[in-house]
Symmetry: C2
Subunit: 250 residues, 2 copies
DNA sequence: GCCTGACCTTGATTCTGGTTAACTCATGGA
DNA sequence: TCCATGAGTTAACCAGAATCAAGGTCAGGC
């Protein structure tokens, strides 16, 4: 269990702990991007890696900040979002353990154009630009991984655009619930499952490009139709198959 | 002028012409992704390159088709779009000469998830997967370019998401006009410029996530406010600065 | 000169989703 | 205990944009 739960409060550790190569290597060995690197390579990486423990609400970077590397979530949740001139916020993505962000900006050598904020107390790694670039020159398969990662990100984002522009609010929510259901190792039992929202409804609403109010209304409608049962942040789905086929607008 | 206008109709040439290494190398030498490669490297590439002349309306690939390489537009315009279950279409991007598409899908080794169709008679190159992969193993700087390209694409797409979710239809259109104005080498003269829409209004509307009707209405409103003058596909902007500052919702 | 089809516009109407604002409820101090 | 806070809900109302339904315009073909 490399990317396990947080040691709940960021403990007495300073916000950014000092390098401890051995410890870092253990963590790095399980990062998807670095899997399969040998100990020497990992050690090279460790030079540029910094562990960060941040509390809920901490802003990792704002739009416009310079970018010196990329981040990797060990535990907790980080939201990526932008803010409009009028101060309203739109959540682009909620990053979960094992995911990384900021690579694209790093490769473009431009400032961040979104902001990142911890939704819960979180632990992450920051990998400095220079060690990434060095490793890229050294190892073509590492380049391949990066390319694969960026491609997947791109794919994901296009799927989001499709979702935003072709699906109604209701369909987006149903789709979200079904995806959450799939990714949370299902208990196998017939079609009856429960899922727990990873964060506040307001944040998820924004992620789906809805207002909190509208999100609330739609959940209510779905509940009224007997498709789901809402219990705080836990949502029970009595019949997944039925929910899936209900997408066909009401 | 490497990427010049089309020899208007795709001439008598077959839809896919046979390799002619010398000719291809001349074309390849000016492709952004390949700039600076030496003749040997270009020749290696040429083995996997195919020139395509397609007429308006030709579908290059559908969603679900397997991907064997990526495409590069020499002249003409190609639209990338997806279609919803109910048959409505959403244009993601309109590719212009010098731009390439399909790389991300190629690197993921998955089928296409959007479709590509020529908006005008067009000439393009298809670069086969295997020569790209070979070159990547051989040349780390080539990898860097690909990474830079993918990163830029990602950035672009996130900017689109921002646009879709934070801006009103009117603001999106104004933004689009201003961007077109910038990219078309301005005639320098004070603030007065004219731009020509690259394709039909319906397609541009879809690109901006609007219906054709709504697009038409907004153009009308802008014209009424004296911000633009519409003359078929040509749009005159009497005062660019004024248009820019008008974004501040009406 | 007329017909056709593609493209565009316009008006009436509907609807999805946003806005505003009041209210509930749980939590956690001080 | 009381209050402050933040999350969530609800309802009334409004607006931006889609849909539906005609028309209009224009270029090309016959």
């Amino acid at each position: 269990m490399p990317l396990s739960q947080c040691t709940h409060p960021p403990s007495a550790a300073p916000a950014t702990t000092q390098p401890d190569t051995e410890h870092l290597c253990r963590l790095l060995a399980h990062v998807p991007l670095l899997e399969g690197l040998n100990p020497d390579e990992l050690a090279r990486f460790a030079r540029g890696v910094r562990e960060q423990n941040v509390e809920k609400g901490t802003v990792l970077f704002h739009r416009g900040d310079p970018c010196h590397g990329f981040h990797l979530v060990l535990c907790g949740q980080i939201k990526l979002a932008f803010t409009s001139a009028e101060g309203q916020e739109k959540v682009i993505e909620i990053m979960r353990p094992g995911q990384s962000f900021g690579e694209a900006v790093m490769f473009m050598e431009k400032p961040y154009f979104v902001m990142a904020q911890a939704l819960t107390d979180s632990r992450l790694l920051h990998i400095a630009k220079n060690v990434v670039f060095e490793e890229m020159d050294r190892d073509p398969t590492f380049c391949r991984r990066i390319i694969a990662g960026l491609s997947a990100r791109l794919h994901h984002l296009i799927a989001d655009v499709e979702t935003y522009s072709l699906l109604s609010g209701r369909e987006r929510i149903v789709g979200y619930l079904l995806r959450e259901e799939e990714s949370s190792g299902e208990p196998g039992l017939c079609g009856r499952v429960s899922i727990r929202l990873p964060t506040s409804k307001g944040t998820i609403a924004s992620r789906l490009n809805l207002t909190q109010e509208h999100f609330s209304r739609i959940l209510h409608e779905l509940a009224e139709a007997g498709l789901i049962v809402v219990e705080g942040r836990t949502i029970h789905i009595p019949d997944v198959e039925r929910l899936r086929t209900t997408s066909a607008r009401y």
